[in-house]
Amino acid sequence: MKPSPFAYSAPESLDELLRVLADVGSDGKVLAGGQSLLPILNMRLAAPSHIVDINRLPGLAFVQVDESGVRVGALARHADVERDDEAHRVLPLLRQALRLVAHPVIRNRGTTVGSLAHADPAGEMTAVLALTGGTVELARLGSTRTVGAADFFLAPLESAVQAGELAVSAFFPAFPSRTGTAFVEVARRHGDYAMCGVAAAVTLDADGAVVAARTAYVSVGPTPTVVDLTETVTGRPAATADWGPAAELARASVEPESDIHASADYRSHLTGVLTERALRAAAGAAA
């Protein structure tokens, strides 16, 4: 199908864009990569009266990396972030997760910040922002604010971005040294929405014993759930650790729902299995 008619603007400066967003208010919808928005428009699940295309804005396609983490601009495509070797060095979890975001062709157009603003419960990057404790910078005419991951995802498809605001960039902090990460998921078909996805970060001490173990989940709750599993494995040597109790705690910490793709029971089962798998891989990467 085709989108309903809408008014269209493609501002060429951030100032002009924020003015347009202030004018159109809740009738406006920001278009970045459009890989989630265009299907919604094509299927007429939404019919915003004004599309504000940010693709003409200069200077927002950046991936900035320093030792503290990776900052991604609103127009950086998933593929730009995925291919950035410096970003991979500082925060391997980005590439680990991005490889699971839809298909390569979708990642050429879709933006990382856009997928955060979209707040799909199956969106891998929401779990990455949650697990890293990252932030999103929002701008409106005359002011900016920074929202932490814990306050950014409000409900399925609902983020903290308000009418008149643009998500300008997202910051993903690096993990402490001797931290390994992994992202694993199970989907019906490669590239589909996951039925359960787990991002894991395991930190070891100098002797290879576990100091911290945390995970974040997609597709098993309305927003990305972060679970601290440290108490179940702390002090154990990573090489011989039993991750079973961590998997049990993870299962007890999420409340998946049933839908056409998978039952709640199956998603809960996957949560356990994938938690163990992700923690083992993350610990292996930390060693």
């Binding site: 008619p5 269209y8 459009g34 890989q35 265009l38 299927m43 390569p104």
Partner: protein
Amino acid sequence: MTAAPEELYEVELQVNGVQRTASVPARRLLSDFLRHDLGLTGTHVGCEHGVCGACTVIVDGRPMRSCLMLAVSARGHEITTVEGLGTPGDMHPVQQAFRECHGLQCGFCTPGFLTTVAAFIEENPSPTEEDAREAVSGNLCRCTGYQNIVKATVRAAEIARERRA
């Protein structure tokens, strides 16, 4: 009662090396712009929500879904469609490989595969079979069972290397 006519936007872009212009409503998808406004019907439209990959075109060197882009967003960009890959007498390595390996049957999905793989072998000139599977994972084919498409993808890279040698 008739609706007010929609506002039109002039969209100028380069398609297969030729500067093209048309005036279209903002909601015109790039796929429909290519087919209806420019008459380039080689780009096929399957699902229109980004799942099937039939409408894939190359935008500034990277394959993208033309059904998930507005034509107005593509203003000023360089597009390559299947028509721009080669001719019957001078086939692109991807086209030659799909023919040699029987990588198509009904041909509906083929333009999307050809554009996707053409861009892929530029980026990865020596793909493994696994790389090839990943590269075409976003394109659906209901005829072939994919075996020959994967073979054709690996073969296309080989032909491109041979031609460069």
